[in-house]
Amino acid sequence: MKRRLFIKDGAYASALMASIPIVARFTTREVEALLVPGLEEDGGVFLPPEDLKKLLEIALGRGGEFAEVYMERRVVNNFSLDEDKISSATRGVDMGIGFRVVQSEKTGYAYSDELDFAKLKEAAGTAAHIASGNVAPGVRAFRTIKPPSNYLVKISPDGIAAKAKAELLLRANAIARAYDKRITQVSARFSDTNKMIRIANSEGLLVDDSQTLSSLGVSCNAIQGGQRSSGYEKKSGSYGFEHFDIKLTEEMARKACAMAIRTLPAEDAPAGEFPIVIEKGYGGIFFHEAIGHSLEADFIRKKVSCFWDKLGQPIASPVVSLVDDGTYRGGWGTVNVDDEGQLGHDTRLIDKGICSAFLQDRISSRLLKMEPTGNGRRESFRSMPIPRMTNTYLLAGESDPSDIIRSVDKGIYVVKIGGGNVAPTTGRFVFSVGEGYMIEGGKVARPLKGIQLMGNGLDVLKNISLVGNDLLVIGGGICGKGGQSKPTGFGNPTLKVDVITIGGRKI
């Protein structure tokens, strides 16, 4: 549902920060500006170092221990197909600068999307207001960082002719239309976001990064008698256009259709406690929500997360090792540097069941006296960085996926998780399942609809008994926290949770 959020975002965000939804499902309409990043001309976009130094000095003008300038230019392209036609082509350009001043636990933040120097000085001065008293350390001489690239981008999608993108979507449509006569609607979409950032801070950091995210999605609906179903498939990552071709598109269209047709006869899900098997891939959302958020260091340092005192302690079954990997090549949440200029990092959050690290931004790592992990991320120059996940996934185990399914006599097989949310304080989560089946006698049987997974992250971690050898990391999810949306990747091997509460209709 669209609301005019322009002025309301700020007003509501802080009041509603306890609820953290993730929208990980491809929706063909309405998502617009959120999803998509590309690159245009390089030179002359950003302020030169000498101007940045002047602005940092203004920002530290009233004291404060740290100041930072974050410059961003973002070009977003969206192409979509609906009802057999390329229905929409949109492009957006966003540019601005955010100023941050930190004094111990306090942060002052201001931004400007007007780039004349007088306005920028004013914004830097506004951010400075948070500080008082202390003599500022001054701005150190810049040393430029050139981070290694974790992105898989050879051909920038922003430079690709519209015709080439349109061709992909039209092909997906043709394949889907021919797949089965019960397929009644087909939508497809290609989006790319091309973001250039320059970060400079008073400690002398100066870094540039160019981030490209591309996403291709196909979704469809099927009808038979009174039954309706939907299917979807997407490929998203820090990919160049070379990762998308006709063959891939055809395969994706077939998979989306197969899902819709498979789930047409879905029956109401049962309610109660069951063992579940989660297929590789989408189950990662589960770890993102049920565990990942509670390991974010802002919740930890404020002692409002159920994990705040659990470092070094067993919190999961020994088969569980969880990482947040900002360096995962081509990942949807991958960063060369985070939005504070910290290098992307592969962080082991849970090591064989032991809680081994938290997700840090600069402020949290200072206050907790822990190593930075490159998780300080922000939606845009309009927001302050906060601890956010990058690509969060469960490491592969040793079990054969088919053995895992065979080990369940009566339970639920979860293929796609649609979305969910968690309260970090209690660890209590809920997810809706996009595609799920009964398991009967060790075999995947009839499809189900209306499955909700519900429980507590701590309990689930202890109840994971088998982990497969088939890790799959995927992208396409948009995570929301504190009013900021951010692309995050996730993944998992096939795994079994011995018992979980299923909310369904049938008793």
């Binding site: 549902m1 002025i7 404020k302 209590r428």
Partner: protein, 447 residues
């Protein structure tokens, strides 16, 4: 440059570059936000933002782009690129600007001129007091997520080649506090806030703190429930999420394309006769109000469900034309960065007659839902399933908190089995509802 000049100029420029029709959507805002935790200012943010979204049609083909750079060079580039984009898409006969022409904007009184006069110190002290009051009210409160105060003022303008030329100014103020009760693995969090158009209308710090505390401590020590079918009451703060889910399934284009279970329900009884639901963004001084919608259509009251009968789907001007629907378009717009799309704007369920006591009376065993963790309704299939928190009801009274429960059913069956609607409507935002009772739903919990 003022909005009117800027908007009308870029529309004219787009037409000169080859657009048949063009529409500019302009916004600017100025915002303040402070968060306070443990008595100290944690973050202080101020921002000024503005931007333009440009929609053009050429031979019924659509192009759209936006920019936050309102310099003349950028506007020229935006106009040129948007016209180019329209050249890439394919024609659809229903594409084009809305058919309605200009009208008279209602005065909804949404702007508080006092906004400039409220000093930052006052705003910070409200947040600080809210947290302090909340922490002092109950010894079971052990920690705080913090309190915040935000305000913003903004202007929105829409200008089109059909002669639409409107702008309105608005303000919004809010403050709230989020608290933690209990220790270690038994922690619970909760909070409350007040959101108003006018500074002087904000609820008192004491009221907001008191409700925040109540909403936090009341969750302590929840018990599991067994899976069973029981009567379920949605309280007035959980109910809006339910209606949001139902309304997602009332999209006109989805109905036309038969991708929603509601497709064939127009003019049929989809809910209990106790249910009258309307979209009405015209209430003066209200947070959810606005004088025109995302396409420049002057807002009005629309009845969506009338005594249980489904009266309308939501259409924007494109989808309405496609489906052959003549009037009654409602379009939302989440900002200048996006295009308008069919959307309800401010939805309220009419108040019922039942008092809090009478609604719960006679329930031998049941569930009072105070928090929905999702919207419940699957817009495609019509199945209803959601996780929730709340209280178990025993012998007509609230007995103890529960968590980790799910509700399962069918949305249509649920709507039809609403047997009581409360008289406790509290208008807070875009979705408003009194509490209501459903005769029976599957509550999922432990075996």
């Amino acid at each position: 440059m003022d909005f009117k000049t800027l908007g009308e100029n870029i529309v004219a420029r787009a037409k000169k570059l080859g657009a048949d029709e063009a529409e500019a959507y302009l916004q600017r805002s100025k915002s303040f936000n402070v968060t306070v935790r443990n008595g100290e200012v944690e973050t202080l943010q101020k921002s000024v933002a503005r931007g333009l979204g440009l929609r053009v049609f050429i031979d019924k083909r659509l192009g759209f782009s936006y920019t936050s750079d309102l310099s003349l060079e950028s506007l020229e580039e935006t106009a040129r690129k948007t016209v180019e984009l329209a050249g890439i898409t394919e024609a659809k006969p229903w594409q084009g600007l809305p058919d309605f022409g200009p009208g008279i904007l209602p005065g909804l009184d949404l702007y508080d001129p006092e906004i400039a006069g409220v000093p930052d110190e006052k705003k910070i002290s409200i947040a600080r007091e809210a947290e302090k009051t909340g922490r002092g009210l109950d010894p079971r409160i052990t920690n705080s997520y913090g309190a915040s105060f935000s305000d913003s003022e903004g202007e929105t303008g829409i200008y089109s080649s059909r002669g639409i030329s409107y702008a309105f100014k608005e303000t919004i103020f809010s403050f709230g506090v989020n608290l933690v009760a209990g220790e270690k693995d038994a922690m619970q969090s909760g909070g409350w806030s007040s959101v108003k158009r006018f500074f002087k209308e904000l609820d008192s710090v004491e009221d907001v703190a008191r409700i925040a505390v109540q909403k936090t401590v009341e969750k302590l020590n929840p018990k599991p429930v067994a899976t069973k079918k029981v009567p379920v009451i949605f309280d007035r703060y959980a109910a809006p999420s339910f209606w949001m889910g139902v309304l997602l399934s009332l999209d006109g284009d989805s109905a036309f394309r038969e991708t929603t279970f509601m497709s064939d329900q127009l003019e049929k009884a989809i809910a209990s006769p106790l249910i009258t639901l309307a979209d009405d963004p015209t209430v003066p001084r209200f947070v959810g109000s606005m004088p025109f919608d995302g396409e420049g259509n002057i807002t009005r009251r629309n009845v969506i469900i009338d005594k249980g009968i489904l009266k309308m789907f939501r259409y924007d001007s494109q989808t309405a034309r496609k489906a052959g629907v003549k009037s009654g378009t409602i379009a939302g717009r989440s900002g200048y960065r996006s295009m308008p799309g069919a959307s309800f704007l401010c939805v309220t369920l009419d108040n019922g007659t039942e008092s809090g006591d009478s609604i719960i009376h006679g329930i031998k065993e049941g569930l009072l839902v105070t928090e929905m963790r999702g919207l419940g309704t699957d817009a495609t299939t019509g199945s209803f399933s959601v996780g929730c928190g709340g209280f178990w009801i025993v012998d007509g009274a609230v007995a103890y908190p529960v968590d980790g429960v799910t509700l399962g059913g069918s949305t249509l069956e649920l709507l039809k089995s609403i047997d009581k609607v409360g008289n406790d409507l509290d208008m807070r935002g875009g979705f408003n509802s009194p509490s209501f009772r459903v005769a029976e739903l599957t509550v999922g919990g432990k075996k």
